[in-house]
Symmetry: C2
Subunit: 427 residues, 2 copies
């Protein structure tokens, strides 16, 4: 409350942009917004909309005909505009989508059932209403395409353009508060037999996407989710039921979940056979990878943005890890010479996006901004050089086209130019 | 993993509805959803929509011409469908609205400014961009109309109908992750003078809604919020800037914030003079009430819902307090004779909705379901009888029509009838 004390905390004192705006005038001259037409207001009432001045949208590649298999429907991938993110929640309307050969099915929830069968004592068919009677939990979890921040996958080439935004480079991850029933609760109802070691989860999409998941993970923290950010799961995210497999590659989070088969070995489904094995430098292939490593990225300032003036900026971004909660985020504003601890904001949830920020005064010189995180297992996000040492040049695990960089969870550098422009520095 | 152990945790074993559904069939007979027309899918891509099968909407009184003052524009109040809530986030499209005589203004953010003036050393005019350069925080906070769960305010009479839903009784509270700059940061930039003790916050709506708020609260935890649930604040909630005054009556959370005047006494604005003073049994009037007391309500099962069968149900609901975080929630399923501790779900944030749940087996008999919460100051949610002892019969603080019950934060009882129907028991 003491004005002298508060001076120490001033952020704007070096800001040329603001100095000219400080005035002693009363508010009388400020314009009052006009009342809009009543019909415009009425349409906002029952289920509100965002301002028409807000233009943030998902972008990506809707079609990629050259990469299709014969007779395969179109793929599409749409990325979350992380450059406009605030807090840790991705608006459900902006949650990323990667769709391998199908469109969201239009499911009437009254007709939808979840079948639990295979190596169980009591096979079950559950309606949505049955599931909602069971004890539910709500947890913040990210879901991330394992091709995110690599040049593989849909829309890959833009990842290595100097003009890439953080939406282009990292937009295939999103975070929601998911509400649902622990899969363990449902499996216990069905009575898992001792011989069962894997589950095969299947969706109600046209291609009946299926994925093999170890039973141990299914019993640990998997959710049969019916709500996302306080309302029913969106059609593009699996309405009415999505299997959420926290911290694991996106492909495990089976949408439009309709069936779980308890089995004693993984099945060689389409994804397991044709798309997700990854060739190592020694010619061997990695199958059944699951957990996403610790990753972080600065979302503001980031590629395509421009610093208006010298002076104070808050650098902010997101960090997450499939291994658990984020314990530490460091930021470098000098090209990696020095690193400072960023502030990690609450809530710090396990396998969730976590917001970080740090104060920065830009002196107008060219520089490089980077972040790196550490999860609560102590695993540190690697540099690009460290990743390359391990993985070598890689093969596009989607369609065998040559990858230039397989950065995976590597540190993302943003170059700040003297004109204030911010550019992707992985290219 | 041992099937014998898991039996102890079975929820469905007494459920008649499910026993008939357990089958040994394969999934072959389940219908596969048809692929919708491409044009339908395309419109979902850039900014997704919910399923057309989801019908949850805000409801309330759009118009109340008899209660208008001369020359006053229409009021409207729209309540959140808490019966469909999951987790703690209210979808921004469903955040409650109480609007005293204005419609949401249609503000171009590039033209919007926030003026800080009055008893400050350096008056400031800040653009949205200026504000977003400053250090931000993201916090979960409820905003609640202080008429919520009373018979006062817009749409009051339905509160005491036996057919009232939880949307009718308690739907004027909503919870978001708000992102913005602490007001203290901005006031420190401006340099608060020693003489200042109050702020007057003003919106850019047609009526220039203003509210007097003690400086101490403004410096404590007030936010100048520009984002809500990960995207810009919605027009109905104050786009582009809303003042968030955590835990205090909704009216303090000035929307379309354009001006903060530092002064040395509260101003007698329209709300302070005509609408919000509250008459006590002794004829004295309470002015400048602020903090919302601890409150909880069961959202499922709740008024208007129906229990399909006897057997297991998870009772779930929300608790919140303007005094801090929720420390305890107790639930009674026998008309208040006995109370059991419910599970409180993470995250348990201060001045935020908090999800609770408890297991219940309904034996098919008529009963009463109630919840009561305790906040971390130790304040316990009162019964209706306790509230009535203090407040007596009250006067409608909006328009002096007689209130039948002024329950405020009283415990909400839901009556369960033998036919499974659930009814409001405050009538």
């Amino acid at each position: 409350m003491n004005p002298k004390q508060t001076d120490r905390r001033r952020f704007l004192k070096n800001s040329a942009a603001l100095a000219g705006l400080a005035v002693g005038a009363s508010a009388g001259a400020l314009p009052v917004a006009a009342e809009p037409a009543l019909e415009h207001v009425d349409e906002l009432h029952q289920y509100g909309e965002r301002s028409h001045f807000v233009e943030s949208v998902r972008v990506g590649s809707i079609n990629n005909p050259e990469r299709r298999l014969p007779n395969e429907p179109r793929d599409f991938g749409l990325k979350t505009p992380l450059q406009d993110s605030a807090g840790i929640i991705t608006p459900s309307s902006l949650h990323y989508i990667v769709s391998h050969g199908y469109e969201p099915p239009d499911i009437n929830p009254r007709d939808h059932r979840l079948l639990i069968h295979g190596m169980v004592d009591r096979p079950l068919i559950l309606s949505l209403e049955d599931i909602q009677r069971l004890p539910s939990v709500s947890r913040f979890h990210f879901i991330e395409c394992h091709g995110n921040s690599t040049t593989g996958g849909l829309g890959g080439p833009v990842r290595i353009s100097p003009d890439a935004t953080v939406q282009d480079t990292h937009g295939s991850t999103s975070c929601s508060q998911w509400t649902g029933v622990p899969l363990a609760t449902i499996l216990k109802e069905a009575g898992v037999q001792k011989s069962a070691t894997w589950i095969i989860a299947e969706g109600a999409d046209q291609n009946k996407h299926s994925k093999s998941i170890p039973l141990q993970k299914a019993m640990d923290d998997a959710l049969v989710a019916y709500a996302q950010n306080g309302e029913p799961v969106r059609p593009e995210q699996g309405y009415p039921l999505r299997l959420v497999i926290p911290g694991w590659q996106g492909i495990n989070n089976v949408k439009w979940l309709r069936r779980i088969d308890l089995v004693d070995e993984p099945y060689m489904g389409m994804m397991e056979i044709s798309r997700y094995p990854r060739l190592m430098p020694d010619g061997k292939s990695r199958w059944f990878e699951f957990e996403m490593g610790p990753k972080s990225v600065i979302t503001r300032p980031s590629g395509g943005q421009r610093l208006a003036t010298q002076g104070f900026y808050e650098i902010t971004g997101l960090a997450w890890s499939g291994g658990g909660a984020i314990r530490r985020v460091e930021v470098s504003t000098d090209g990696g010479k020095t690193w400072k601890d960023a502030r990690i904001h609450e809530p710090i949830a396990s396998k969730s996006h976590t917001r970080f920020s740090i104060a920065w005064n830009w002196n107008g010189e060219e520089t490089m901004l980077q972040s790196r995180c550490t999860d609560d297992k102590g695993v540190v996000q690697p540099s690009l050089a460290e990743v390359a040492k391990h993985w070598g040049t890689d093969i596009d695990f989607f369609r065998k086209s040559t990858l230039i960089v397989s950065d995976l969870n590597a540190i993302q550098p943003w170059k700040v130019n003297q004109d204030g422009s911010v550019k992707n520095a992985i290219f």
